[in-house]
Amino acid sequence: MTKGERLVTAIVVGAPIAAFSIWALLDNPRLYLVTMLNSLTLASLYFIVASGFTLVFGLMRNVNLAHGSLYLLGGYVGYVVARDTGWWILALAAGFAAAAVAGLLIQVLILRRMQGQDLRQTMVTIGLSIVIADVLLWIFTGQVYQMEAPSWLQGPIRDIPVIKAYSAYRLSLLGFGIAIGLFLWWLLNRTKVGAMIRAGVDDRAMLAASGVNVNLVFAVTFMLGAGLAGFGGVIGAVELSMVPGEDTRLLLASLIVVIVGGMGSVVGAAIGAAILGLAETYGLAYAPTYSVVFTFVILIIVLAFRPRGIMGKAA
């Protein structure tokens, strides 16, 4: 983009948003600010789930359409662990571990056999998503499971200016999102595994040629990606509850986040999650009937002008 184009984009996108923000702030400042917090906290959840998706995709060109099912799996396992032990932190770890192990099994037992056949791998994940979803439905039935937040995160934080009170747990989502983001940044930029993953994203064949055990890197990345979905599942089980169908919703969210943000880019996932969270939540608060349309429009606009997403690199 040239400088001029950038300016035009900024005005076309920015002006209506600025106009809306001024109107909304004057009209009902509390609603506007609460919605802002709601957006960013929801975006954090989307980011946690979608960053795993984008990691796997970036490295392996594998669109893991069972990602939503892994989210559900992590959530259910976390629920069971929290119910039986009463330790929420343990539930987080269990959710992460369960999804990571499931991811590892999928990678080692199935996907590895068809390495290089991207499309077939993706279709396998579709089949897996049907099977996992139905097995989970079998075990946990269609009931809605509501997990409790740890007691120190229950209840509101009061006496915030303008907003007055805001959910402590919800606010903690923001912290989780930022922590995961920092962790991924550290992992990718400061560790040897991260360097390998980054190298693999750029050129898989060269990485293999330079003597790295690509299979191991793949397995670790897939575990991490799946684990993040499970981790997101436990967090989501508290705020959004667990029920069949959530897998599709989170998968759609991941897809949109990754398409909008740019495939394979963790920073892109953060940007995409923020955009999706803002669009969804502001849509629900100010124009509930058409909230889903906003998502649609954003998706189409981004694909029309940036086919590889905002942070996507040309092939």
């Binding site: 709601n38 929801l42 809605v144 509501q146 937040a149 009170a165 509850s241 629900l284």
Partner: protein, 417 residues
């Protein structure tokens, strides 16, 4: 291919002993085939299975025999979408050649099956658990009968109870589709007439679990919230609402105040005492027939055999619809000649004895029945439970209005801001 799973075989075994002892006439003549359609796939599968148990209970109570003829039940399943429901209904009617079809489970399916019933005049259709208003209000079908009341009727009486509690302004939070629309209408029809105001209705997208946007929009000047969500979703809402610092009292829809809500452990647990709701059944109802029904259900389907601890709404509704079919068949001595003319005439006019009182049909073949208004109370052990506040009999589909004045519930209808 035609290897049908015939569950009557099982029920017959149970029934055989009864029949042998009583020495009654045993299954002469061709069996009467009844198709049973419920949702056995997807998220509603548990409810659908319980609906089937309810229908089966009605058959077992008659020993699987009506007027000397065996009742053969043929099951079919859908996934709660109307196209699959019609496909399954078509299989039962055209492939398995059932005489009577009982089903389906959900609203959209009910409308679709009702439309289909018009093309099959030789079969009598009796509703399962579907509760869409339109089924028996628009384009009615002469061979589709519904012995259960629907969503709007289930809420009739709550408006008065709300006014009695002093809730003059109410905000409504409900999912965005036909069933909650009808529930809202059942509440508002009475509430608005008594002078209550509903300044804001927040329709939550179907399946949406993030209520934060809705909570942010709750106005300061309302007295109460009417929450029409499934029980577990309501708990989710309560948690989010409590965590964001809200403190307004709640009212519930017919499926809201479930065991999930009564088991709620949040800090506002005590504020749930006094929560009112309305519905076609009330676990705490003291009627003798109701208690007998619950006991019979528990005996036939103990928890160890996959039954619920107590019959669900689906089990109850399927039960009364199946009972209507069997009672009707009994009254006409199994006479299905002339396109079921006698049976249909009988069904239209009969007074069905149900565990919750008498039900009869209006001119659209829609039930006029009983609604319970209940309230959450704390029992002696400190557990939350419900008690019946009021029993409203003879609630009809137009909620006491004239037919011409009555409009079906939508997002914006009724309206009293």
């Amino acid at each position: 291919m035609n290897y049908n799973k015939r569950i009557w075989a099982r029920s017959m075994l149970a029934a055989a002993a009864v029949a042998a002892v009583s020495g009654g006439a045993f299954a002469q003549g061709a069996p009467i085939k009844i198709g049973l359609l419920a949702t056995l796939e997807g998220p509603f599968a548990a409810g659908g299975a319980d609906g089937m148990r309810g229908a089966e209970l009605a058959v077992r109570q008659r020993g699987g025999v009506v007027d000397g003829r065996k009742i053969e039940i043929i099951k079919a399943s859908s996934n709660a979408t109307p196209d699959v429901a019609v496909n399954s209904a078509r299989k039962l009617v055209e492939q398995d050649k059932v005489d009577i079809l009982v089903g389906p489970l959900s609203g959209g399916e009910g409308i679709a099956v009702k439309d289909y019933s018009k093309s099959q005049p030789q079969v009598t259709f009796i509703n399962g658990a579907s509760g869409a208003q339109a089924t028996t209000l628009v384009n009615t079908s002469p061979n589709f009968f519904r012995f259960n009341t629907e969503g709007a009727q289930w809420m009739f009486g709550l408006g008065k109870a709300a006014m009695d509690k002093g809730y003059k302004r109410t905000m409504i939070i409900a999912e965005d589709y036909a069933f909650p629309y009808s529930q809202v209408q059942g509440f508002m029809a009475e509430y608005c007439r008594l002078g209550g105001k509903v300044p804001l209705k927040a329709w939550v997208p179907l399946g949406g679990k993030d209520y934060s946007s809705v909570i942010a929009r709750i106005p300061k000047d309302v007295d109460a919230l009417l929450v029409i969500l499934g029980g577990a979703d309501a708990v989710n809402f309560l948690t989010q609402y409590e965590n964001s610092g809200g403190d307004k009292p709640m009212m519930g829809g017919s499926i809201t105040v479930s065991q999930d809500v009564l088991n709620y452990k949040g800090k506002r647990r005590d504020s749930l005492v006094g929560t009112i709701s309305a519905g076609p059944v009330a676990d705490s109802f003291e009627g003798a027939e109701w208690k007998a029904f619950v006991a019979d259900y528990k005996k036939n389907f103990p928890v160890s055999a996959g039954g619920f601890p107590s019959p669900s709404l689906f089990a109850y509704v399927y039960y009364i619809n199946m009972k209507a079919a069997l009672d009707g068949l009994d009254a006409v001595d199994g006479d299905l000649s002339n396109n079921h003319a006698k049976l249909r005439d009988t069904l239209s006019k009969m007074v069905l004895k149900t565990p919750n009182g008498d039900v009869r049909l209006d001119s659209n073949r829609q039930a006029i029945g009983t609604t319970f208004v209940t309230e959450v109370v704390k029992d002696s052990r400190g557990e939350l439970t419900t008690k019946v506040l009021r029993k409203v009999d003879n609630v009809d589909q137009t909620l006491g209005m004239k037919k011409e004045d009555f409009k079906m519930g939508t997002r914006d209808e009724p309206n009293c801001p």
